[in-house]
């Protein structure tokens, strides 16, 4: 073979960092602070400070491949960490403050986090698991206060170093990591390479994905600790879109105020956020001028068609997306396809409630119970498998290898049909998980702990549709003969390992849990008995 090919220009997040600072320096980055005040800065300042932070972290002993955790809301300082940590060759490890302290303790140890950056308002969360790990440094984002004893103040750290020049990093080097609870058993770490993160930012920006441009101003309600805020921070920086960060104030009025005041063009979050927002808009439709807002991206759980239509009435377009932590997370986005141009409204509406076509570079297939690929006939159901340059092919430490096929596909656990255009519809999950407010709850873990209660003989947990949260766990209990426990006692028993929002909302008592031929809980029977309609009414939508 002859021929000199294009150079080995590396696909790294430092490319994004350099570009944002050089081309989009003047674009605003706006954050709502804990005291609800508005903080304004620019890409220029954020990236300059990120280069200082990177230098300071190196001075603090952070080296190539070291994990640095963040326990932070969506704000400019978190964006600085998003660039400083991978940019210096370390690994950005975002922590979800909503997890149970024991789970957080497990995660920071499993990842061997060396340093943690934490919001002042999240110090109580840190206190819940800090005994589990000896961080070399705890860096606290405070706005006026000094840092607590033994901790470093974020602003002091940033000020302590000159801005570095980004080093060359290999595109296959780990850039970031996020643990997913969307599996049975312990959370598992998904690790994103620089290459994957950059390609995801490109893919997410495409018109057939989220369509982010330099003319956009994006407000990510979806947290930066949750599947990288769906990739929006890097995509926005690559394109030079302005960003408006809501901080910890995610209630409808605060978000609507920001959308209107800061002339936001795109926003993204889980359905619960938009349901609250729709209610606020319906109540006071004249209060907010959202004339610039062209897209509400909804993911993390299936969005009810009524919500899509509800926003239609306000002239706001809902764009339905699907993904998982394992898919960086963008897997599919539902744009009304060209062949439905001029179709009846009902057909278009039905289409918009689907999870959409896989975005360019993401490959999909579905397999039946025998492992045979199902046709794209929109009728035959199968478990969705995905593959692509930003799809995990394994978990940190090689755990959960059974979720990946020998030929490199990730088995999502979602049961889908696929139409002739590669557009997904998620019907159910093959894995027994409950999805509440966009977050996973493992029914198997709940069952195991319930069955550890002395009064419980058998326990099964299934998902119940819930208007607000999408799904809530329902516990089905068979007591040991002659013994019993109250709902409150069961919940208290579970709270040693589970966060409050993860506990079953309700319990049903049965004589015995029905079993399949192989002795597993026959959850289809339980659903038929206890769930209205027999199957979840809000199927699908994995953890985006």
């Amino acid at each position: 073979m002859q021929g000199l090919t294009m150079d080995d220009y590396p696909l790294t997040l430092t490319t994004v960092a350099r570009r944002a600072e050089q081309f989009h320096g003047a674009r605003e980055i706006i954050s709502r602070r804990p005291d609800q005040s508005i903080h304004r800065t620019t890409y220029s300042d954020v990236l300059h400070r990120a280069r200082r932070l990177a230098g300071a972290l190196a001075d603090l002993g952070v080296g190539d491949g070291d994990y640095v955790a963040t326990l932070m809301w969506n704000q400019a300082e978190h964006l600085e960490c998003y660039f400083a940590i991978p940019g210096m060759g370390a690994v950005l490890h975002t922590l979800n403050p909503r997890l149970h302290p024991d789970e957080l303790g497990y995660i920071v140890n499993h990842a061997q986090d060396k340093v943690i950056v934490v919001d002042e308002t999240l110090l109580p969360i840190l206190a819940g698991f800090s005994a589990a790990r000896q961080f070399e440094h705890v860096i606290v984002v405070t706005h006026d206060e000094p840092a607590p004893e033994g901790m470093l103040r974020y602003e002091d750290v940033v000020a302590s170093s000159e801005p570095i020049r980004w080093p060359e990093v290999d595109e296959r080097q780990a850039a970031a990591s996020c643990y997913t609870s969307g599996t049975t058993g312990r959370p598992k770490g998904v690790v994103y390479s620089h290459r994957a993160a950059l390609l995801h930012a490109l893919g997410a920006s495409l018109p057939d994905a989220l369509g982010i441009s330099s003319r956009d101003t994006v407000l990510p309600v979806v947290p930066m600790f949750h599947a990288n805020a769906w990739g929006i921070p890097y995509a926005a920086a690559l394109s030079g879109a302005g960003i408006v960060f809501p901080g910890q104030h995610l209630d409808a009025v605060n978000v609507l105020d920001l959308l209107a005041d800061e002339r936001v063009t795109m926003t993204a979050g889980v359905p619960t956020v938009w349901m609250a927002m729709l209610a606020a808009l319906d109540a006071e439709s004249q209060r907010w001028d959202l004339g610039r807002l062209h897209t509400l991206i909804v993911g993390g759980a299936a969005v009810p068609p009524a919500v899509i239509k509800g926003f239609d009435a306000h002239g706001l377009r809902v764009l339905h997306a699907w993904g998982m932590t394992e898919t960086s997370p963008l897997g599919s986005v539902c744009h009304v396809p060209s062949h439905l141009e001029g179709a009846e409204e009902s057909a278009v509406d039905a289409y918009r409630a689907r999870q959409g076509a896989a975005v360019p570079l993401v490959e999909i297939r579905a397999k039946d119970d025998e492992g045979v690929e199902v046709p794209w006939d929109d009728t035959t159901m199968g478990e969705l498998e995905v593959r692509g340059p930003w799809v995990a092919s394994g978990y940190h430490g090689g755990e959960g290898a059974d979720k990946f096929t020998a030929d490199g596909w990730f088995q999502t656990g979602d049961v889908v049909t696929i139409n002739a255009y590669g557009c997904l519809k998620i019907w159910d999950r093959s894995k027994d998980l409950v999805k509440s407010g966009g977050e996973w709850i493992s029914s198997v873990d709940l069952e195991n702990l319930l069955m550890a209660h002395p009064a419980v003989a058998e326990a099964a947990v299934i998902a119940m549709p819930d208007e607000k949260w999408g799904e809530r766990p329902l516990g089905v209990i068979a007591f040991v003969d002659g013994r019993t426990a109250t709902d409150e006692e069961l919940r208290e028993h579970l709270s040693t390992d589970f966060a409050k929002w993860q506990l079953p909302t309700k319990f049903e008592i049965v004589e015995a849990i029905p079993r399949t031929a192989t002795g597993k809980w026959k959850k289809t029977d339980l659903r038929a008995q206890f769930v209205p309609g027999g199957v979840p009414t809000a199927p699908g939508g994995s953890a985006a």
Copy 2:
């Protein structure tokens, strides 16, 4: 360093081929045939036939890394070649039928093309250089006729093999090659890797670049033999945009008919095409319904502001782009930036005539005569250098190494200013080249041959602005004492090496050519003397 990173999912054009066939199979691919009839097919058929063609080429002895030339207009069969040849691991080598036969002969030998696919209507062009190279096979696209003696009929070749399954190719393998005349001396080969071509397709599809989506129907007037039709074929296939190919019928009425009849949303070509189209539209503004057409991409040479405004009057948006064969070709696109929202029309108009901001992943810088980087102040001029994952870092065979810096940047030869937002304005070229109708003419080569004429003592060639072609070459001649030659004699002398359109339109006779201190032609003086205004009035715009 711990951590399992994302998999090594290869970035290849077979990903695009698989996706187009699987997701966008039903989307139409429309071609205007030589007899002006309309041919309709789909991605499904094109990709199925491409897999047959790939199998057939292998049967004909084409192996990994072998060069297969195409001498073809824009049409479905060319798209099949675009996928079949790189998809099987060979190298797609597009030939520009407008070059001089000697130049084509040089190019096919330099690339060592093994097989050539040629349009029936271009057989006379092939005859002009076929003596220069012994192709193993000549495959002719005929529609009704049999192939000439000793050649294979394209349809027979396609029919001769079952469709193959795309093999795994390495992302750094050469996928395509295009020779550029945008250099002094002999044409030089730019080689595109699979990775570069795929990343370029992604980059070109971004909203800040061309913004191609599955809802688009694209008509590339820019030829597929010219810098890969600006990447549109692969970008459209990746997104699932419909494609309308104009074949060889590039006159305004034929193009306008297709734009209207096929409900095209985007089209792309050099300024000369649009000037003719604008004249036709101005003459018969009610004749064509272009209600779906949202973007006219103009590149290859600077577009006169009057043309932009002219299309504005018809409700059509001109998008100005810049690039070169060496940049795959997309380098920059001029979108009106967010900071000009609400600005005065004159300010916006002035901005739209610029070459635009480098597209994401393309890095730019400009250097002054001392090799020092100039500030992005929109005032200081420097020679533009570019770098990125789809920018060449060398030519085929290591030629022209002086055009690349030690740190991997390509020196474009364009003299630019850059504003604070990374938006380019091309003022002039540091290299002495003439750009006529989007194609390069080397003034140095013309001068050298002119000076080989027995009557010519000195000869310099400069660019004259030309309303239709952008630029035309002007020859400035000092005769040997006592001798002379007519314009026609000089042109005839040149036509041994140059195509007719490359010959100087006009000659001026001088006593002696002015020289710089170092003895070079002082072309600034010649421009001052012979060119209205002293400098080209249509500066910039390289070979996109």
